[in-house]
């Protein structure tokens, strides 16, 4: 399996961190509440390990996810993941109450998707700027399922390598917690390393 040096990992972690920070800022502006970020976590894993690791980190309960899939020199997806009850609370916060029942109809899903879209655009914009990469995106979509299905890594070759970055956050004074996940496919790994080293070099200059 391909390995990253500690420097490369640190750089990547920093890039991810900047992106997440920007996303959190966007979310903060939308709901008017402070977002508490935890320490980001970045690791190179096999698809199976990635699945296990995420299962451990996100739990087995159903999750609500907004996913933004991208391709180009780097391929992968960015996801905003909530436990479903946090998703209900967030929608309720955005639409001024109406939380009589815990179900998400298409209106609420639309609102949640828009929020996810804005947050994920924030992080991808930052990544794109820092790594000086252009991405092509699919329209963001909403999914509700278990960890295993949400990550869509079953179609990845088991011998391949995945770069997984995850950052959990909480919304101040609200029972809302969530995760931002970034996943790069192996095929784009060399391009990523090249982008990182360019960034590191430019720092040295």
């Amino acid at each position: 399996m391909m390995k990253l040096t500690e420097n490369q990992l640190n750089t990547l972690q920093e890039v991810f961190n900047i992106g997440v920070g920007r996303s959190a800022g966007v979310l903060n502006e939308m709901i008017g509440l402070h977002i508490c970020l935890e320490i980001p976590w970045v690791k190179v894993l096999s698809p199976l390990e990635a699945k296990q690791e995420l299962g451990k980190r996100l739990g087995v309960n159903p999750l609500s996810t907004v996913r933004l899939t991208f391709s180009g020199t780097l391929t992968g997806n960015a996801q905003l993941v909530f436990p479903t009850d946090s998703a209900y609370e967030l929608v309720s916060l955005l639409t001024d109450g109406d939380l009589i029942s815990y179900d998400l109809d298409s209106l609420k899903i639309g609102a949640l998707t828009e929020v996810g879209n804005i947050v994920l655009s924030g992080i991808m914009g930052a990544m794109s700027n820092l790594l000086q990469q252009d991405f092509e995106y699919l329209i963001p979509n909403y999914l509700e399922d278990s960890v295993e299905h949400l990550l869509a890594i079953t179609d990845y070759d088991s011998k391949q390598t995945i770069l997984l970055a995850q950052n959990s956050f909480k919304i101040e004074n609200m029972p809302i917690k969530g995760n931002i996940i970034l996943l790069f496919k192996l095929g784009s790994f060399d391009n990523l390393l090249a982008a990182i080293s360019r960034l590191m070099d430019s720092d040295d200059e």
Binding site: L94, D98, S101, G110, I118, S121
Partner: protein
């Protein structure tokens, strides 16, 4: 150059005219490059008019930061962006035939122009008015259904509470009936009070209380039973200290109905009640319940106390009636002494006891001298008077373990358990002499001195059975009569 670009695009994007959704293309300087047929229909703005114009001229709100900032990200090649129907209902104003604005779900994607740098924005607008309205109607319906379910839940809860109440009523009635049955078989008031106290405790498990008896004279109230927490109030008090007794009706002091406190209550109960127990219009006792917690003596409990006291009154009245009947069946109505029937019962019992304990038993058979003459001279009323006076005297002259009976006519028997012949004879002489001292008046007239003849016999020396001892005493009495009356003879 713009015209050239527009022409180029119009050719390129003509396919969008075939879509059943609104679609437009904006350049990075917010110029409308394409406007599809669907939008023409929705807005009544023809393509020929709007294409080439700044969007702000038709829809100025698009230039607000919340739209413009996100569109600028698209022009920079950022990810597609969604303006959801919930958060941004009208990306543009597109009225329906009825005048209401269409609710739109808007998706904006970057489109590379192909021939140069930067991106155009492809704006796709979906009319979700129907879906939104349906969802909102559904929400209203759902809320109503939920409210109904909640209502039904409340009704079920109320029903289950009612059922519980009924069960409690049933339990109470069963207890009341049990207590009544128990009172039926009580022989004395003491037993009855115990039975009542036990039942009240079961009926009011978390309420303390006491039962009082009222003395014969109706002056004092005395504690006979109490239960529950430490009972600090007086054990006996004056009848007049209790409002309930004075007014012959229940006296309640509760949170809802505060009232005067009875004088006999010295602790400070939050709530209490005094209920007189009245049988045959005579107050026999008092039921007292108290609790340190307010709200315990509920109207339900008050009703139950009412039933309870009715049962108690009835039970005690029965008991008193039975006591009277029993008294009447074993007493001689004229003298108040025991009758011959009771004598036989008592004598048999006492002789058994004497045998078992190897003790003697004395018997005095006493007859009024010249009683027939007395009747003839002064009338039967005078004779009755003498017998009554004798009865009272004999009752006073004996120990509590002895009994005095009217044996028939002017004949009396005294049974002296554990007395030997010597003691019995001595007692006979005392009694015989005592009678001689009696001064009996009848209609203002002092009657002649009454004398009696007495025969004394003793068990076991004069017989092994009651009959034998009575026969021996009778023989001794006969001897006394024969020897001139007014004397004591021993068998």
């Amino acid at each position: 150059m713009m015209n050239e670009a527009v022409r180029h695009l119009t050719n390129n994007f003509e396919i969008l005219d075939r879509l059943p959704v609104g679609a437009m293309v904006l350049s990075s300087d917010f110029i409308v490059l394409f406007w599809n047929k669907c939008l023409e229909a929705w807005t009544n703005i023809p393509k020929t008019e709007i294409v080439g114009q700044h969007i702000e001229q038709y829809f100025p709100h698009i230039m607000q930061p919340k739209y413009a900032m996100r569109l600028k990200q698209i022009f920079a090649g950022g990810p597609p962006t969604i303006f959801s129907a919930q958060l941004h209902r009208h990306f543009i104003q597109a009225p329906l035939p009825n005048g209401a604005l269409r609710i739109l779900h808007t998706t904006v994607s970057p489109v590379p122009p192909g021939d140069r740098q930067g991106y155009y924005a492809l704006v796709v607008l979906q009319d979700v008015t129907d879906v939104t309205n349906q969802i909102q109607e559904y929400r209203v319906m759902r809320d109503r259904a939920l409210a109904e379910i909640e209502e039904r839940k409340q009704a079920e809860l109320a029903l289950s509470q009612k059922t519980q109440e009924l069960e409690q009523r049933n339990f109470e009635l069963t207890q009341l009936s049990k207590m009544s049955n128990l009172l039926q078989v009580c022989l004395t008031l003491e037993e009855a009070y115990k039975a009542i106290a036990a039942s009240v405790q079961i009926l009011f498990p978390d309420i303390s209380g006491a039962l009082f008896r009222i003395d014969e004279a109706g002056e004092f109230v005395e504690l006979v039973a109490n239960w529950g927490d430490l009972f600090a109030d007086l054990k006996s008090f004056m009848y007049s200290d209790c409002w309930a007794l004075r007014r012959s009706q229940a006296h309640w002091v509760t949170q809802i109905h505060p009232s005067l406190m009875c004088k006999h209550i010295h602790s400070q109960p939050a709530e209490y009640c005094c209920i007189p127990i009245i049988a045959q219009s005579q107050a026999l006792g008092l039921l007292y319940l108290h609790t340190p917690q307010p709200g315990k003596l509920t109207p339900d409990k008050q009703l139950l106390v009412g039933y309870l006291t009715e049962h108690i009154s009835l039970g005690l009245a029965n008991l008193k009636l039975r006591e009277t009947l029993h008294y009447q069946s074993i007493r001689d109505p004229l003298t108040g002494l025991f009758n011959r029937r009771y004598l036989e019962e008592f004598l048999n019992r006492e002789i058994h006891r004497a045998v078992r304990k190897k003790l003697p038993l004395g018997m005095l058979l006493l007859d009024v001298d010249h009683f027939k003459q007395l009747n003839d001279n002064f009338g039967h009323e005078a004779g009755d008077r003498v017998l009554r006076e004798l009865g009272q005297f004999l009752q006073k002259s004996i120990r509590s373990s002895d009994i005095a009976c009217r044996y028939g006519g002017e004949e009396f028997i005294l049974i002296l358990p554990e007395a030997n012949l010597e003691n019995s004879t001595q007692r006979a002489i005392q009694i015989q002499q005592g009678i001689r001292q009696l001064e009996i008046r009848h209609q203002g007239q002092v009657l002649n001195r009454i004398t009696t003849s007495v025969g004394v016999a003793c068990f076991p020396s004069h017989g092994a059975t009651a009959e034998e001892v009575i026969r021996a005493a009778d023989a001794a009495l006969y001897l006394a009569k024969k020897q001139g009356r007014d004397r004591v003879e021993v068998a």
